[in-house]
Amino acid sequence: MGKYIVRRLLQMIPVILGTTFLIYTMVFAIPGNPVEGRCGERPCPPNYVAAFNAEYNLDKPLLVQYALYLGKLLQGDLGMNFYGNSVAHELAIRWPTTIKLAVMAIIIEIVIGISAGVLAGIRRGKFSDTLVTVSTLVLISIPVFVIGNLAQLIFGVRLGWFPVTATHGTFYELILPAFVLASLSVAYVARLMRANLVENLRADYVRTARAKGLSNARTVGVHTLRNSLIPVITYIGIDLGALMGGAIVTERIFNINGVGNFLYRSINQKDGVAVVGTITMLVLVFLFANLIVDILYGVLDPRISND
């Protein structure tokens, strides 16, 4: 198991280098871009540009630039945004809200998604199965921002059950956004769970379990479920990326003061440094989350770790 973890960590290093380089190049290696918009409508004065270049090492060769950037990154320095605030600081104060939102969404995703999937799987072909299958299909087809807008309209404005915006980031305010954020993933998790369960119910070891005189509840609940859950858990890790994208949209709609909204506003203001910093950090978080999921996978599936 330890070997497996070390192996995965080592594999991650080139990927981290590759992604940060890709991100950096896309924004900073293009001439003229980084300073765009910083000086208002007019182009920036040359000495400002020179100072900016010096600050961000833009006059050096690309690889050196990148290396220096990486160095700063490792020290937690993501640069300064338009207003002269440290990007890292801006993100730090917004993280807790976004994490709250994300965790709530993941819990919803797991609880509802897995239950619906299991229900549909064991009652395959019956009404509950069709219900789940159809509703997940519909849910996947409606983009997050449409669901967000509609939810805001129906549950916030018309019915008044939830606050329309969530500027304070309290738990109650975040319930509706969390459901909106989870909506897409719930559908995928339910479908995946159902498909896995159905497939595992045909497996030979199920027949063996029955031949051992075990009850149906035990055969499904213990033997099959454990096997079926494994791909679902790993999916949730991959899904984190989609969740991040969804968070940007959801935070915008509900005016949540989180990382996603910060990114959205930085894009609108053409704040290159903030955009790069935020995206880099999000990607790193995504990578580490996937590492944890991989380790979890190794724990759950002995075939992977005990090779």
Partner: protein, 327 residues
């Protein structure tokens, strides 16, 4: 001599061809015998299965409807989507404007119809790009193996590490679409960035298909007979591995259309004056506007969702038909 009773099934008297199944595979990989004429291959079995399913025909019909809408919007409306009557802004649906008007007085129905073209174009282009890249890289990785496989795998991981939406935001932030960007350039840029971040999923799928097909006897036999790699890949490996890629790509088409809409919603995708469902919904958002004029939001949303739904449904139905164990 006693008459032997003939027993016929409802199948025609075709010669018997054994159907190979890869017992250890996942739900997608099944190997049809494509070389014997008149044989009951997986393809014809799947077709037979698909024919009988109403879901197949419904999704196909919807897709065709939207495709026609994208190519010939004039068939659906005679109104000009660029004509705005500010005095009638935010008007509810009426006989004059079936879907009402938006904040600038544009006819929502006309814009929805014309918006199909941009949205669907992005979807199709992005799917083609991701498929081409994914299939080629997947085949090379799987067939060649070795260091090339490792390198390509790492590169794929790098692209996979950046979530689709974030990558799209990043790229389109650097190369933004502006009001002057021509239609095709704008569409291509968005499609490009989606395809660039989506190919690793396809290539992984293709690679694992190739790895499952490669050790099979008929491939070894072809190699022993001296067939060139291109031929082996073209005639044996690709037909057998393509099934899952086709299913996933069909579903992806729907997903990509939704992604374009999301990018436009965030302001980085397609930009006005280009009309797409995403830009329409973006302009219709905001709690203040929705409260008073929900129709501006609802109609394009409905069209968007229906299009995405039909592609995903089609992919679902085709996947079920290709999976022999569900029959």
């Amino acid at each position: 001599m006693t008459e032997l009773r003939r027993q016929r099934t409802d199948l025609s008297n075709e010669p018997v061809v054994p159907l190979q199944t890869d017992a250890a595979s996942g739900p997608e990989e099944v190997l049809p015998d494509t070389t014997t004429p008149g044989a009951r291959s997986l393809g014809s079995d799947a077709w037979r299965e698909l024919r009988g399913r109403p879901m197949f025909w419904i999704s196909l019909a919807l897709i065709l409807l939207f495709l026609v809408m994208a190519i010939f919007p004039e068939l659906f409306t005679s109104k000009d989507p660029a004509y705005a009557d500010l005095s009638k802004a935010r008007e509810k649906p009426s006989a004059d404007a079936w879907f009402g008007r938006d904040t600038q007085g544009y006819d929502v129905y006309a814009r929805t119809i014309y918006g199909a073209r941009a949205s669907i174009s992005v979807g199709i282009l992005a799917t083609i790009l991701s498929m081409v890249l994914g299939v080629v890289i997947g085949i090379v990785s799987g067939y060649r193996g070795g260091w090339m496989d490792s390198v390509l795998g790492r590169i794929g991981e790098i692209f996979l590490a950046i979530p689709l939406l974030l990558g799209g935001i990043l790229f389109l932030y650097t190369f933004p679409n502006g009001p002057e960007t021509p239609f095709m350039i704008g569409v291509t840029k968005v499609a490009f960035v989606i395809g660039i971040f989506a190919w690793p999923t396809i290539s992984r799928l293709m690679r694992s298909s190739v790895l499952q097909v490669k050790p099979n006897d008929y491939v070894q036999a072809a190699r022993a007979l001296g067939a060139s790699p291109m031929r082996i890949i073209g005639s044996h490996i690709v037909p057998n591995s393509l099934a899952s890629v086709i299913v996933v790509s069909t579903i992806n088409l729907g997903v990509f259309i939704a992604v374009e809409a999301t990018l436009s919603f965030l302001g980085v995708g397609l930009v006005p004056p280009v009309i797409s469902w995403g830009t329409q919904i973006s302009e219709a958002s905001g709690i203040g506007l929705i409260r008073v004029a929900p129709h501006i939001l609802l109609f394009p949303s409905f069209f968007l969702s229906l299009t995405v739904l039909s592609f995903i449904m089609l992919g679902d139905v085709v996947r079920d038909a290709l999976d022999p164990r569900l029959r």
